[in-house]
Every structure is written in C-alpha cells, then in structure tokens.
C-alpha cells in the first residue's frame, strides 16, 4: 500500500505542475507583510498565462514573481516601489491595472467621457423635442392591415 502510494505520488508530481497558487512555503511570517504581498500579487499579471494574476496562477513563473514580490517587501520596499521594480524589469505588461499614461488615457477616461457625452446628447435632444412640440401622428394602416383588421372585427362580431 505504502509503495503504491509513493508511486502514485510520484506519478502525480510528474503528471501535473503545481495546482495551487500561493504555496504554503511562500507565506511570509509577518501577516501584515503577507497581506501586502497578496494585495500586490492580485495586481500583477502572470505573463505566461492567459489573463491570470500571479495570485491565482499555478505557473512556475508566477511562483517566481510571488517570491520576488515577497523578497522586495522583506527588503523594505513600499508597494509602489515593488511595482516600479517589476515594471522596470518586465514592462507595463505585468500590471493588470494599467497606469494612467499617454497610451492608456483613453481607456481610463472612456467611462466619464461617454457618460458626459451621453448626458449632453440626451439634454440637447430633450430641449429640441420640447421646442418641436406635439406627438407625431402614427402612420396610417396599409391596405393589408386594413383587410386583416376588417376580418378580425367581423370575426368578433360573429362570436359575441
């Protein structure tokens, strides 16, 4: 049984990479620093994964980055210093929350611009329509529809 178990474990290790994100051996002794590390991890991209943060990912690279973040925190870096360090090393690609820059300005300003633009358009339309006045009359029925209406009316008349 024991040998089978060992063989099975070996098989598992061979077959699959780690299935866990944060590993027990990575966790920092100081819970405050660990919390900071987790918070930062959620904002950093695992660059070989598809849109996963290093906090969620099982990839070996994500683990390396998590350890690196903890190393920097242990060395006394502030949160933004850690991020700067990683950006200098891996580029803006590593940030899941892009910085407000020339290239990302449109992305960040989209929602307020659209809201303002939409609101303005609605206000103008409302004013214009208030000046235009009354409801537009509904279009007259087509001959087809008049025929159907007549048929329906006569049916109703028969049944009641």
């Amino acid at each position: 049984m024991r040998r089978m178990m060992a063989a099975f474990v070996a098989l598992m290790l061979l077959a699959a990479p780690a299935v866990h994100a944060v590993q027990p051996d990575e966790i920092m002794a100081d819970p405050v620093k660990e919390a900071r590390a987790r918070e930062l991890s959620r904002e950093l991209r695992c660059m070989v994964c598809q849109n996963q943060s290093i906090d969620d990912s099982d990839a070996p690279l994500a683990r390396d980055l998590r350890l690196l973040v903890r190393e920097r925190i242990a060395a006394g870096d502030s949160n933004s210093q850690v991020l700067d360090f990683l950006v200098a090393r891996y580029g803006e690609f590593v940030l899941l929350k892009p910085r407000f820059e020339r290239q990302t300005m449109l992305l960040w300003l989209l929602a307020p611009l659209l809201l303002a633009g939409g609101g303005f358009a609605l206000w103008r339309q409302n004013r214009r329509r208030a000046q235009d006045g009354a409801d537009v009359p509904t279009p007259p029925l087509t001959p087809d529809e008049q025929a159907r209406l007549a048929a329906l009316m006569s049916e109703d008349a028969k049944s009641s």
Partner: protein, 660 residues
C-alpha cells in the same frame, strides 16, 4: 456512413438557407404570398437537416468512431456516456455545429409560431436569419468540418480535456448559445424593420418575448459558467474578467438595455431608433464574442497570425454583418418617426438612464477587452487590463445604476413625481441605512465601502418589495383586498420585482464573499486540524481510487463547528492518464448561503499534503441573484400580454355568458 450523412445534411441545410435568403425577399418585393411563404417551409426543413447533422455527430461520439478526426481528438472509449455526449460541443467544430443548430432552432420557432406576424415581416425576418445561417454553414463546411475522416483510424481517442469532463459542460455552453444566438432574432427583426421602413409598437411587442427568452438563457448561462469555474478551477474564484467571460457579459449588458428600451417602445412608442440600434449592437456583440473565443485572437495575437483561416473567416462574417447592418441603420434610421414625448423625470426617463449606464458599462468592458490588442498591434505597446481595472471602472457605474433601480418602476409614464416616489421609497432607504449601520458597527475597523454596498443591495431588494406593496395596497388595505390585487397584478410586474431584487441579492453575495472570505493555506499531515472561521477541519487520511478514465487521490476531512461534528468533506485530485493532466475536485460544504471550500495541492516527500481551505460567507447569493433575475424573466414571459404572438381574445369564456 453516419459521418458522410451528417456532412451531407449540413450541405443541404446550406442550400436551404441560400434559398431562404433570397426567395422571401423577392416575394416581399413582388408582394407574392406564395414566395414569401417559402421562408416558413425552408426554415423548418433547415431545422430538420441541421438537427440530423447534429444527431449524426452525437452518434459518432457515443459510438466512439475514432475514424472521425473530431471524435479521435476529443473522446476516449472509456469516457462516461454523459461526457461522450457533452464532448460533442467541448471542441471548436462541435461547438460551431451546436451554434448553427440553435440558430436553426430559433428560425424554426419563428416559422412555426410566427403566424400572427404580418407576412412580409415574417418573410424578411426569416431571410435575415438565413443570411446569418448561410455564413456560418459556409464557415463550418470550409474551415471547421466536424465530420472529417482519418485515413488510418487509431484504436483509441485522445480524450477530452479533463477540466471539461464535468456536468457543467452539459449545461453551460448550450445555455450560453441559446442566449447568444437568441439575440439573432431581435437582430433579424431590426433589419427586417429597416428593410420595410416601418416600425411601430406592435413590432416591439413581437420582439420582446424573443429578447426575453434569449436574455433568460444568457443570464442562467453566465451564472452557471461562473459557478462551474468556482468549483472546478480549484481556487474559489468565480469571475475573472477574462476576455472569454467579457465576451458573454457584453451581449448580456446590451441585451438588458434592449429589454428595457423595447419596453418604452412598446408602451409609449418612443426610443424607436435607439431600440433598433441596440438590437443590432446586441447581436453584433454576440458575434464579436464568437470571434474572440473561436479565432484564438485573445490567447495571443501571434497564435491568430499563425493559423489565420478561421479567424479571418469569422472576422469577415463579423465585418459583413456589423458593417452591413450599421450602414443600413445609418441610411434608414432617420426615416423612422419618433413618437411619445416624455419629461426627463418619468418612467421613460428612468429607462433612458438605465440604457445610458448599461451601454457605458458595456463600452468599458469592450474597451478593456480590445484595447490591449489594439495597442499591441497599432502602437507596439504591450499592456494588460485585468480585474483591478474593471473593479475601479465597472463597479461605480453599476452602483449608480442600482441606486436608480428602485425608482424606475415606481415613476409614472410621461411625467413622474420624483419627490413622491422618494417619499414612498423612504422605508426602503431607511432599511438600507439601518443595515449599513449594523454591518459597520459589527465589522468595526473594516472598510466603509463594504457596508455601504450591502446597504445598497438591501435598498434595491426593499425597493422591489415596496413597489409590489404599493401596487397591491399591502398594509393600507384589508388583507383580502391585497390578496385579490396581488392575484390581479400583471405577471410582468412580479417579474420586474423579482429581477430587480435578484440584482440586490447578487450584490450582497459579491460584497460579502470578496470582503470577508477567510483562507487557510498550509501543508497538513493526517490528524492535523485546520481552524477556519470557527470551523475545525481534521484531516483523517488520504486514500486513492480508480475512476473510469482517471485515478484519484482523496483526502478525507472531518468538519466540526464548536465541538459538534457536522460532515465529512472529500476533496480529491484526479489524474487523467491519456492527456497526462490532472484536475482538482474541490469539496464544498454548504451552510445556509455560505460555503466551506477545500482543494488539494501537491503531496510533499514526507507524506504531507498542501491544502487550501476557504470559508466563503454568503457566496451562494452571487448565483441566487441571477437565478432570481431569470425567474423574473420567466414570470414576465408568461404574462398574457407578452406571450409569443399577439394575445387572443378569451372566446371560451364569452360563450358561457348568457345571450343578451
């Protein structure tokens, strides 16, 4: 034989779709009823042939016919029957076949139940459906034929991706596609209206049930997918703002806006142009989603460039339909007359605000998904957009929307009384504030945001209750009268209340889970005890077991709370030999709306195992919310006024009355 028959059925369906694309339109031009009626027969026949083709592929998978490439690549003879069937759409070719099958199903439904539609409108709608269908049949036949044979058939298949071997695959994709593809009906109606140059309140009445059906399925499909990811991926996340998820969220946002604007159009004959545009946009976003998921462009721009046939084909379809419909819209929209004036503060005004916020939210998701792609291609600037970005931009928009939700149904049409409504919502507002105070007092020192958000959720739920109470005269009138009124209340009013309350429920779940989730990560040996959120979990031991096409290692946990034994939880790790990959099967223990969640990691050399244990407070409310929304949608759909087709007069009842 079966594969060839399935292939041939698909070719015949294409031929039928091509006939359906042109003959009815010509018929409408010539005002020839016989030609226009062709659409009905071809739509039904198309459903028959695509159905046959789909059944053929299912049969091949069930029989494990490995001479067919699609079966060889995605199946295994030892796979349980259910996964042999669901594996049909667990791959690119099969899922595209499911896509067109559902498209044919909707076309068939319009043909079968659209007797009340004016003949030319029905002909046009079915013709537009056939345009879409033709494009996708061609796509399947040219680039993604699921019936391709292998010259030298292998003995055994390569098995389905283990993550997909789950009951979730049986439900999630069909639901999602029923939603995605269901929006093709409102799209076809919009194009038909533009082609005919006529649109009125009756049009909205015909479109709304179809939109509602699609919306219900999409809502359930997204929620189901989210729960599947939650329990299958093994780390308890339920929404990742992944491009693939965004692809389904965008049509949902636009579709929700469409439901509300169609309401204004039906009741007040206003917002016509906007409703048409939303119909077009909603389905365009569905197509875009299909493109994003199916072309591989999201995984990496380079993967797309390496094997561009499929991607370019869908991109062509996308440009053709979106470009074509938008130019038609630009050309014809001005001829549609606006009707129904309303003051800014009115039910219509509230629905316009709803539409503005939903559309902006949708635009944010669209930009977040495509912006990095565009920047990489155009400016050679590699960047990422992930959860932290969406949390900052999407959340405020939804908070604004939720704040306005209770006001909408209580405002009067044309000109509303905001002050009056505010007074009537006072109780709901007070309920929200009391909850804010209680939660804040209870979690002293935490962030102020979470209690506020929970208060907002309570306000939305209480607002929905207030709306029903106001309509039925609850607490004001005798109970019998209230009961009578409640029974007489249109089902759509109940539907609105349930759907809106569902939003509040989901919000509370989301906030609780993200704020007060507790987590325990460690390596444990047998007889070790983990303490999480007041629960003690003792690892009894590890054992192994042979499944049908995998081996699994199971850890057994005894769970107790305050010394009282509760249950045994058995998370496991499965290793699939054929693909050489493994999955974690998390164990879940539900306590009210909260859950304990255990997933396993690796075994260390000395026999200890890495575990992750979470306590997720009120996590189930995240999915109860969408279920409530879908239930509200179904209630609304069962409303007599909205039944597919125009309501019929109650003749039977009339006959029983004495003659006058």
């Amino acid at each position: 034989m079966i594969a060839e028959a399935g292939h041939y059925a698909l070719v015949l369906a294409l031929a039928l779709a091509l006939i359906q694309s042109f003959v009815p339109v010509i018929g409408a031009r010539l005002r020839d009823p016989a030609l226009m009626n062709v659409a009905r027969s071809t739509a039904l026949a198309q459903l028959l042939f695509v159905g046959a083709s789909f059944v053929a592929l299912v049969t091949l998978h069930v029989n494990s016919d490995f001479s067919v490439a699609n079966v060889y690549e995605n199946s295994h003879s030892m796979k349980p029957l259910i996964y042999k069937i669901t594996g049909v759409w667990g791959n690119h070719e099969g899922s595209m076949l499911l896509w067109v099958s559902i498209l044919a199903l909707f076309g068939g439904l319009v043909a079968a139940f659209g007797n009340n539609l004016p003949l030319s409108l029905r002909a046009h709608v079915l013709a537009v459906q056939a345009w879409i269908a033709s494009a996708f049949y061609l796509f399947i036949l040219i680039t993604s034929n699921p019936f391709l044979r292998i010259a030298n058939p292998p003995i055994e298949g390569r098995d389905l991706n283990p993550v997909l071997q789950d009951i979730g695959l049986a439900v999630h994709p069909p639901m999602l596609y029923l939603g995605y593809v269901g929006f093709s009906i409102s799209f076809s109606f919009a194009i038909a209206a533009l082609l005919e140059g006529r649109i009125d309140a009756a049009w909205a009445r015909w479109v709304r049930p179809w939109t509602l059906v699609a919306w219900i399925f999409l809502t359930l499909g997204i929620a189901m997918g989210s729960y599947w990811a939650y329990y299958e991926l093994g780390w308890g996340g339920w929404w990742f703002w992944d491009p693939v998820e965004n692809a389904s969220l965008m049509p949902w946002l636009a579709g929700t806006a469409l439901l509300h604007s169609a309401l204004v159009m039906e009741k007040r004959n206003a917002l016509k142009v906007w409703t048409i545009l939303l119909s077009i946009l909603t389905f365009s976003l569905s197509l875009l989603g299909t493109f994003l998921v199916r072309s591989g462009v999201i995984t990496s721009v380079h993967a797309f460039a390496n094997d561009p046939t499929r991607g370019v084909f869908i991109l062509l379809i996308l440009c053709l339909f979106i470009g074509g419909s938008l130019s038609l819209f630009a050309g014809r929209a001005t001829s549609l007359k606006q009707g129904g004036l309303f003051a800014p503060i009115s039910r219509e005004g509230a629905l316009v605000l709803n539409n503005l916020l939903l559309t902006v939210a949708c635009a944010v998701v669209l930009f977040g998904t495509l912006y990095p792609l565009a920047m990489e291609v155009l400016a050679d600037f590699k960047m990422s957009v992930g959860a932290p970005f969406y949390n900052l931009t999407f959340a405020p928009l939804f908070a604004l929307l939720l704040l306005a939700v209770p006001f909408g149904p209580m405002l009067a049409w044309k000109r509303g009384d905001l002050l009056g409504v505010t007074q009537r919502l006072l109780a709901a507002g007070v309920a929200g504030l009391v909850v804010v105070a209680i939660v804040w007092g209870w979690t002293r020192g935490g962030s102020a945001l979470a209690p506020l958000a929970i208060g907002l959720g309570v306000f939305v739920i209480a607002g929905a209750v207030t709306d029903i109470a106001e309509r039925t005269g609850l607490f004001r009138l005798p109970f019998a009268t209230t009961f009578h009124r409640a029974r007489g209340l249109p089902r759509s009013a109940w539907g609105t209340a349930f759907a809106h309350a569902g939003l509040g429920v989901a919000l509370i779940g989301i906030v609780c889970e993200t704020t007060w989730n507790s987590e325990y990560i460690a390596t444990m040996k047998p007889n070790d005890v983990a303490q999480v959120a007041g629960y003690e979990l003792k690892l009894d031991g590890l054992l192994e077991r042979q499944g049908p096409n995998y081996r699994e290692m199971i850890a057994q946990f005894n769970v107790s709370h305050g010394g009282e034994a509760l249950s045994v939880m058995t998370p496991s790790k499965r290793s699939f030999t054929t693909r050489g990959s493994s999955t974690t099967e998390a164990a879940l223990l539900t306590r009210g709306a909260s859950q304990l969640y255990i997933s396993l990691g690796d075994v260390t050399a000395d026999g200890a195992i890495a575990v992750r244990i979470y306590h997720k407070p009120f996590v189930l409310m995240i999915w109860w919310g969408p279920v409530l929304m879908a239930f509200g949608g179904m209630l609304s759909l069962s409303d007599r006024r909205l039944r597919v087709g125009a309501p019929k007069p109650a003749r039977a009842k009339q006959r029983l009355q004495p003659a006058e």
